[in-house]
């Protein structure tokens, strides 16, 4: 994609977050553009999920700035992030297992009739249409989410994020538990989101996936960004050595 078409959607500046003595983020900088898929890679515990949870408003960073479309925030809450158009598929999926699929898809955004009663019929119909469109197979729309397989649950979380779209879609290891078919469908979906002009962040340990999807890769190691590079300018092997710390590629 040509530089001119890209529009800066979100910037992260010097973001820090510690859990007690564990410094999960030690000053992260990141730029996210609309119409671009950005992959965030790093070893287990590198701080990827902590980073995206700060963007989603699910947790409060200790310091640093999050700049969304020119507006600077010290921290976000989930409501703000959603209103700014940031939708997230969390690594833990953030689903309510004891409730059915449609209820989970619409959690927090239930359609109402007569301004008071939940329009369950609409929720069910829209969910069925959504799952058909995304080619996500589920036993029944009325099934409890806790009864689904891991991959099906991921499908529900992805469907929810897609449904309410917004401007930036964040996927934290969205296909980790999915089968071959579902993975392929989800990835082609994510790819099309980038083409449709959404900003997309995807976290994945699968470098093959990352290289086939993303325009840029952000490599995180021990709470710091090692480098953010264009996928065209780097090889998977170089990325691996940056993830593990074996090599420091100059930016």
């Amino acid at each position: 994609m040509a530089e001119a078409e890209k529009k800066l959607f979100l910037q992260v500046r010097n973001l820090k977050k510690s859990y007690g003595h564990v410094e999960a983020l030690r000053g992260v900088d990141l730029d996210v553009y609309t119409g671009e898929i950005l992959a965030v890679v790093g070893d287990n515990g590198a701080g990827k999920s902590t980073l995206i949870k700060s963007l989603a408003g699910a947790l409060v960073p200790d310091s640093g700035k999050i700049i969304v479309e020119g507006q600077t925030y010290e921290q976000l809450n989930p409501r703000q992030a959603l209103d700014l158009g940031i939708s997230t598929v969390y690594q833990d999926l953030s689903l309510v297992n004891c409730r059915d699929i449609a209820t989970n898809v619409f959690l927090g955004r239930e359609p109402l009739k007569y301004r008071l009663f939940i329009d369950k019929k609409k929720m069910v119909q829209d969910s069925i249409a959504l799952f058909n469109q995304l080619k996500i197979h589920i036993p029944s729309i009325h099934a409890l989410v806790g009864r689904l397989s891991g991959g099906q649950r991921q499908g529900v979380a992805v469907a929810r994020a897609i449904k309410f779209g917004g401007k930036l879609l964040i996927f934290d290891e969205p296909t980790a538990a999915m089968g071959i078919q579902e993975t392929a469908a989800t990835l082609s979906l994510i790819k099309s989101l980038g083409k449709q002009g959404y900003a997309v962040i995807i976290i994945s340990h699968n470098l093959h996936q990352v290289f086939s999807l993303a325009q840029r890769i952000c490599i995180i190691r021990q709470g710091l960004v090692v480098d953010t590079v264009s996928t065209a300018d780097i090889t998977p092997n170089q990325v691996v050595s940056m993830i593990t710390g074996a090599a420091q590629v100059p930016s």
């Binding site: 989603a56 408003g57 699910a58 989930p78 409501r79 959603l82 209103d83 997230t88 969390y90 953030s94 689903l95 309510v96 297992n97 004891c98 409730r99 209820t103 959690l107 927090g108 955004r109 239930e110 109402l112 008071l116 009663f117 939940i118 369950k120 409890l144 806790g146 009864r147």
Partner: protein, 317 residues
């Protein structure tokens, strides 16, 4: 069909138990299945149902409220004092019912604001409410209320009385709230995964607090009916009612871990417990055996329900 049975297991089981109880008791004593006695059961159960409805929301949301019994007594006594001071009935209600709202708000705000265990906070308010009731009355009951007020405890409306009618209305309202509104949806979702609800942009503390307020208000209403019926406000009113309410909610298919709850099940469970009580009286079984037998039935049913929940919760919790 299998799906239906699975989904409404508790409700179906309770209906079956209720039917068996009715048949057995009707065979044992002809008086049991008369309108006078059925009316009696409904009358006795109406207060338990009102209390259990509030508890159903609290337990569904993953909480517990041990303070409802003392809230009942405390708010009743505030009403009694107001009436004794010559304040009209509506004014006295307007003073007494907010006591329940206030206790509920304190419960909810402390639990959410300080992230403390509902068990501990509501246990605290259980003692505070009872203490206030005893202090205000110097531990002796207040009696003698206006007739308009007594109507709220035993006044007839057609074939039923006011408490039964009120309980029925509250059952319908609660059912609609739990099954058809955001408020009920979020109560259940909070009990399942409150972090997921928070991340969905819902104000968790507001919903949680309002659930405790609802429970507190229903406790105050139960207090109102109790003192109106007995024409006396006893600081020891509502002693241990929380155990019956919790038992009814869990028998009705809720899980003490939250995320599950049923209004129909709760009401059925109250009716089963009420019928059992009534049957034992009719069979002239001494009252100390009654408590024992009720306790055993409750434990058996709870163990059964919890085991069933646990088996399920491997996947659904």
């Amino acid at each position: 069909m299998k799906h239906f049975i699975e989904k409404y297991f508790s409700q179906l089981l309770l209906t079956a138990v209720l039917l068996i109880l009715v048949i057995v008791l009707s065979c044992k004593t002809p008086y049991f299945f008369t309108w006078a006695n059925c009316y009696n059961i409904l009358d006795q159960t109406s207060i338990d149902i009102i209390l259990a409805l509030g508890m159903a929301f609290v337990i569904s949301s993953g909480g517990i409220d041990l303070s409802i019994g003392s809230t009942m007594a405390f708010s009743g006594i505030v009403m009694a004092f107001a009436m004794k001071a010559g304040i009209p009935v509506w004014g006295s209600l307007a003073m007494g019912l907010p006591v329940g709202i206030l206790v509920g708000a304190c419960n909810g705000l402390l639990i959410t604001g300080l992230n403390l265990s509902p068990l501990v906070i509501t246990l605290g308010f259980m003692s505070i409410g009872r203490g206030m009731a005893l202090i205000l009355t110097k531990s002796s009951p207040i009696f003698g209320f206006p007739n308009t007020f007594k109507f709220l405890g035993s006044g007839h409306i057609g074939p039923i009385n006011f408490p039964i009618l009120l309980a029925a209305i509250l059952v319908v309202i609660s059912w609609v709230l739990l099954n058809m509104t955001k408020w009920g949806y979020y109560a259940l979702a909070l009990g399942g995964n409150d972090e997921a609800v928070r991340r969905a942009g819902v104000s968790v503390w507001q919903y949680r607090t309002s659930i405790y307020i609802f429970c507190g208000l229903l406790a105050a209403i139960a207090g109102m009916i109790t003192i109106a019926r007995l024409n006396s406000a006893d600081p020891l009113a509502g002693w241990m009612v929380e155990t019956d309410a919790i038992a009814a909610v869990v028998l009705g298919g809720a899980s003490l871990n939250g995320g599950k709850g049923s209004i129909a099940g709760t009401v059925l469970a109250c009716l089963v417990l009420g019928t059992l009580d009534n049957g034992l009286i009719l069979l002239a079984i001494p009252s100390y055996y009654q408590k024992l037998l009720c306790g055993i039935v409750i434990i058996l049913a709870l163990v059964f329900t919890e085991l069933r929940n646990r088996k399920e919760s491997i996947s659904v919790s």
